[in-house]
């Protein structure tokens, strides 16, 4: 269990960007991607997302587990939606009837060219969002989170809270490990396999409660330190100064344009309705 924010993209092209670029890029990309239901455009968005991800040079070995979990979860979500929606497909062009291949045994859910395309677009969209989002955790230096959000217009108190949150993570994770070890020494058995969820939740109490209460009680030192330095009495200054260079501006213009094009395209073209390749339509 390693919860320390890992700066895996250190030195990469993306890590050298102003960290605000990484945050704004994700926001623009998410808002653009959720408007697109045309498979061809979604494939282009995936290409953009993975090209962007590659510039962060995050070693795959280090994030393999995260990718596996994310892909597994997306697959389950898309599959469950396909099953439970019982063949109802959103974003079908007007007047188009689903081209049904057959029905799932027992459930009777129709499987059609349109439902498969819909599921594929959903899957690709989630993958692209994950690829664009990854660099926020791994290609932004942990010590600039506060100033990043402050310069993005987040009130400085909350920007400072975000900064503190990242800083607390490693020490709280360590406290949590120590609590588990301490309870094991006292004979706590965490391996009991009762099927009763209430009993299993209650079994976590000896670990969760001391970890949480100790963390809160230990916060007094931090609060006192902040009070003694006059936190909240005036606008805070930050050590780091963020300046957008020419490349940063070009990246921002690129992602901003993507959002504008996706929005206008959704209004005046068919990019926001499902497009089904002819090749998969049953003859």
């Amino acid at each position: 269990m390693n919860f320390a924010p890992r700066y895996l993209g250190r030195g990469s092209w993306l890590a050298r960007r102003d960290p605000r670029v990484l945050v704004i890029a994700v926001v623009c990309f998410v808002l653009a991607a959720i408007q697109v239901w045309d498979l061809r455009i979604m494939l282009i968005l995936d290409l953009i997302a993975f090209a962007y991800y590659r510039t962060a040079r995050i070693p795959f070995r280090q994030v393999r587990r995260q990718w596996m979990l994310a892909i597994l979860f997306v697959s389950l979500l898309v599959f469950a939606n396909g099953i439970i929606a019982s063949g109802r497909i959103q974003r079908l062009p007007e007047g188009v009837e689903p081209h049904i291949y057959g029905y799932i045994p027992l459930l009777g859910t129709p499987v059609s060219a349109e439902s498969l395309t819909f599921a594929l677009v959903q899957f690709l969209r989630f993958l692209s969002l994950i690829a664009v989002g990854f660099p926020i955790a791994f290609a932004i230096a942990p010590d600039v989170f506060g100033v990043t959000f402050a310069r993005l217009g987040v009130p400085y108190r909350f920007a400072y809270a975000i900064d503190l949150t990242w800083r607390f993570i490693p020490s709280l994770a360590e406290d949590f490990r120590s609590t588990i070890d301490a309870q094991r020494v006292r004979g706590m058995d965490f391996t009991g396999q009762s099927r009763n969820p209430v009993a299993r939740v209650r079994r976590q109490i000896p670990v969760l409660v001391p970890t949480i209460v100790n963390a809160i009680a230990g916060a007094e030192d931090t609060i006192d330190a902040m009070d003694l330095r006059g936190f909240g009495t005036g606008e805070r200054t930050w050590f780091q100064d963020l300046v957008l260079d020419r490349t940063d501006k070009l990246v921002l213009i690129g992602f901003g344009s993507l959002l504008v094009v996706a929005t206008i395209g959704g209004l005046v073209t068919s990019s926001s309705v499902l497009w089904v390749p002819d090749a998969i339509l049953p003859r």
Binding site: F3, V26, V27, V30, I34, V63, R65, Q66, L69, A70, F73, L76, A80, N81, I84, A85, S86, Q90, Q122, L129, I130, G133, F134, I136, A137, R157, F158, Y160, A161, I162, L164, T165, W166, F168, I169, L172, A173, R195, P197, V198, R200, V201, R202, Q204, I205, L208, V209, T211, I212, V213, A215, I216, A217, A219, E220, I223, M226, D227, F231, G232
Partner: protein
């Protein structure tokens, strides 16, 4: 000489609010992915004990802390797990709304809040449960964001998450209130 302190508004954002919010978000972000307890007889219902942090921090420290703990904590948990902080931003908002509503419990559970420690612990469970049921209605925005079917959101998202989170809220929030209140008294807060 006598000293007087102004009553602290539940919307105050001072150093105490900031630090408790940061601790709540960090703890939630770290712990949320660790413990998942499947609920028998269901396919996708997990009780996540760490979720109790959201209603507890809201209830104990106010709506601003609850909102931050749920919103930022869920984003951090998603980011650490690889899902991405903004991939399911509406779920983070839902978590934040749960913390916010739990923090407003003193406004709608007035009589329970002023009683004994046992009554306040029960108020934590009731306030948290109400917050969970209402707060997670935000996930129905998946119908717009991901074009998901209403029944799919209801049966694979809303009901599972509410059942799992109600279990941990009702069990753990009173325990946390019982554990925290004496410490709070000792610290003079």
């Amino acid at each position: 000489m006598t000293s007087m302190s102004m009553p602290r508004s539940m919307w105050t954002v001072d150093s105490r609010t900031i630090v408790y919010a940061a601790i709540g978000a960090a703890l939630y972000g770290v712990l949320v992915g660790l413990f998942k307890i499947p609920v028998p007889g269901t396919t996708a219902v997990d009780a996540r004990p760490a979720f109790a942090l959201v209603p507890f921090f809201g209830f104990a420290f106010g709506p601003v802390v609850g909102l931050f703990t749920g919103l930022v904590g869920n984003m951090i948990g998603d980011q650490i797990s690889g899902w991405g902080a903004l991939t399911s931003y509406n779920w983070s908002i839902a978590n934040g709304v749960v913390g916010l509503l739990a923090g407003l419990a003193p406004a709608y559970l007035g009589s329970m809040m002023s009683g004994s420690l046992g009554r306040r612990a029960a108020a934590g469970a009731v306030g948290g449960a109400i917050a969970v049921v209402i707060g997670f209605l935000v996930v129905f925005s998946d119908m717009i964001k991901d074009q998901m079917d209403f029944n799919a959101v209801l049966t694979t998202e809303y009901i599972p998450v509410v059942i799992g989170d109600l279990i941990v809220t009702i069990i753990l929030v009173p325990v946390l209130v019982y554990a925290w209140e004496p410490v709070k008294e000792r610290l003079g807060r």
